[in-house]
Symmetry: C2
Subunit: 347 residues, 2 copies
């Protein structure tokens, strides 16, 4: 792996470290994926999990939005269930559905599916990251993992779920088993992030997408210690850590103190208010509503400017959406948005 | 219609009016419906919209949970799209999907689908409410309507939607058309509530289920004036008004001042904190997480007691779930829950 001279001074990494930036850096959650015609072409006939395990495809798909948009960071193309598959969990990603788990985890005996993750289990990830770091030059690569709660929700429900009733029944009804499950998932998520950083990723994002389904007191008791452990595991590696969830207005203070340098904020709370809740020593990432990209450009531009203004209240700001790019998004709108962010924030 | 002597002194109506109660009243959103075997029996071979328009079925289905659980209030069995169907919108409720609109509203010409609602359009509702009031005696009947934003989301998207991208594109991109649409929907919702109160309903609930998808400033500008108008329309009728949405932590203050006497709270914000946000002159309704009902009884009971304790911070408390009863809920757990609430809150 080669280290690029401009990398450390990149706008993205500087914003994460709360240092002055030449312009507000911007990237988009799910920037690589279904909204891009070039993505749909390379994915033709290739199942999602197979694509995630082919270094050539991971490299190409990860680079596509960097080429097209000139975003300030790439994010490894993968899925939060990849490390689960890698330790032997029988699962598949079904088109139009999401992850489907063959034997959902409901009892202690089911935990046998979750052994620790070794770097050799995900050699294809190491290979893809190394290849990407070479190709990306001065553009940082973000590694990522699903946080223990969100991983647990898929494993317990057996797939995507609107109400997480089985997950909550286990968490509230069998705290001992919950603890064991979350501990194993924290180990796996931490190991998966370490592999990516060891291979050259410049930052990591821990996605706890569904944690907004919990009241703050339950988050503190059942979830936060495990997320903290994942973040601590990569802390000594010296790369910025981003922590994101959806609908986390009630949880922002706790997300801010769980260990990450950057807190991702969804579109429901303005960044100036989010910064008050998160605290003064954390950068923010966000938070344009991805649904707004379906409005005429004038409305998009007006909102994007509001996000830039609001983001000045934080000691560092990485522009992003408040959730992932929606599949039917027009890539041309994202391209214009990158230009707008760069131009209007230029020092 | 006959007026029952005990009705006005019922625990439910007293709690809504912030008067002392003999016990905390309890009912459940979606208490009538799929979780009850007796409901599934009477619905066999009858489409949802047909069931909503047959006074005999509406009466029977509305009474089922009152008989089984001894809840403190009944809620009219209906659907938020019933008044839309009644004014001629071409729509259906598809099993396992939800409302499907034949011609989604995206342009001014589409507004022609939405004329005003006359009482004669929903004679079956008047008939069902009158029949129910006779049957229910001292148990109050709650009428209900969908709030303009949630109705608009179905009409614009054409059906249920996870991200509401078309709704938001219209709202942010064409505020003039949005205003016209919301005004018509407020008229329809207000008229639908007035019909139910005129026929004998003792309270109303305005459901704005999906409004938690908006930041507070957008709610204030694009939604709240219309919800206020609906609530004002029934204000002079002298029945308590309940206003509920999901994921409304950021909006509770505004929901509290939109006109309703009672604010429904989802399970993400504890009732004591919700009462601080809503203000001292509003009763609260909620807020046990419906997913918790899938945990062992001990966990359910512990949480229910926490809700009761937290609810004492509000000047009036109607016990409910923080969202509707989930379809796979065990009715026996709901029956035990009603007993627990009554016993543990008895003065």
């Amino acid at each position: 792996m080669t280290s690029h001279a401009g990398l450390r001074g990149s706008a993205f990494l500087r914003a994460c470290r709360r240092e002055p930036v030449p312009h507000t850096p911007v990237w988009f959650m799910r920037q690589a994926g279904r909204s891009l015609p070039e993505y749909r072409r390379v994915r033709e006939g290739v199942a999602m999990l197979d694509a995630c395990r082919r270094p050539d495809l991971v490299t190409e798909i990860t680079l596509q939005p960097v080429r097209r948009y000139g975003v300030d960071a790439a994010i490894l193309f993968s899925d939060i269930v990849v490390p689960l598959k890698a330790v032997g969990v029988d699962l598949d990603i079904k088109p139009g559905v999401g992850p489907v788990i063959a034997r959902p985890i409901r009892a202690e005996a089911d935990l046998g599916q979750l052994r620790g993750l070794e770097p050799d289990d995900v050699g294809y990830v190491t290979e893809a990251v190394q290849s990407l770091v070479g190709e990306l030059g001065a553009t940082p690569l973000i590694g990522f993992a699903g946080a223990p709660f969100t991983l647990a929700s898929y494993l317990v429900e057996g797939g995507p779920s609107r109400n997480l009733e089985n997950t909550k029944a286990l968490m509230y009804g069998n705290p001992g088993l919950w603890e064991l499950l979350m501990t194993r998932l924290a180990d796996i998520a931490g190991a998966f992030l370490r592999v990516q950083v060891a291979a050259g990723a410049s930052a990591v994002q821990l996605f706890d997408s569904w944690v907004g389904a919990l009241p703050a007191a339950d988050y503190a008791r059942f979830v936060r210690p495990h997320s903290e452990r994942v973040l601590a595991t990569v802390g000594e590696l010296g790369v910025p850590r981003i922590h994101f969830g959806v609908g986390t207005g009630e949880l922002l203070g706790q997300l801010g103190s769980a260990g990450a340098e950057v807190v991702g904020v969804d579109f429901r709370v303005p960044l100036d208010e989010a910064s008050r809740r998160v605290g003064p020593d954390r950068a923010l990432q966000g938070n344009l509503d991805p649904a707004i990209l379906f409005a005429p450009w004038d409305a998009v531009a007006r909102r994007a400017r509001e996000v830039l203004v609001s983001g000045r209240a934080a000691p560092g700001h990485v522009f992003n959406l408040g959730h992932g790019v929606l599949p039917d998004t027009d890539p041309d709108v994202l391209a214009r948005l990158v230009d707008l962010v760069h131009e209007e924030s230029a020092a």
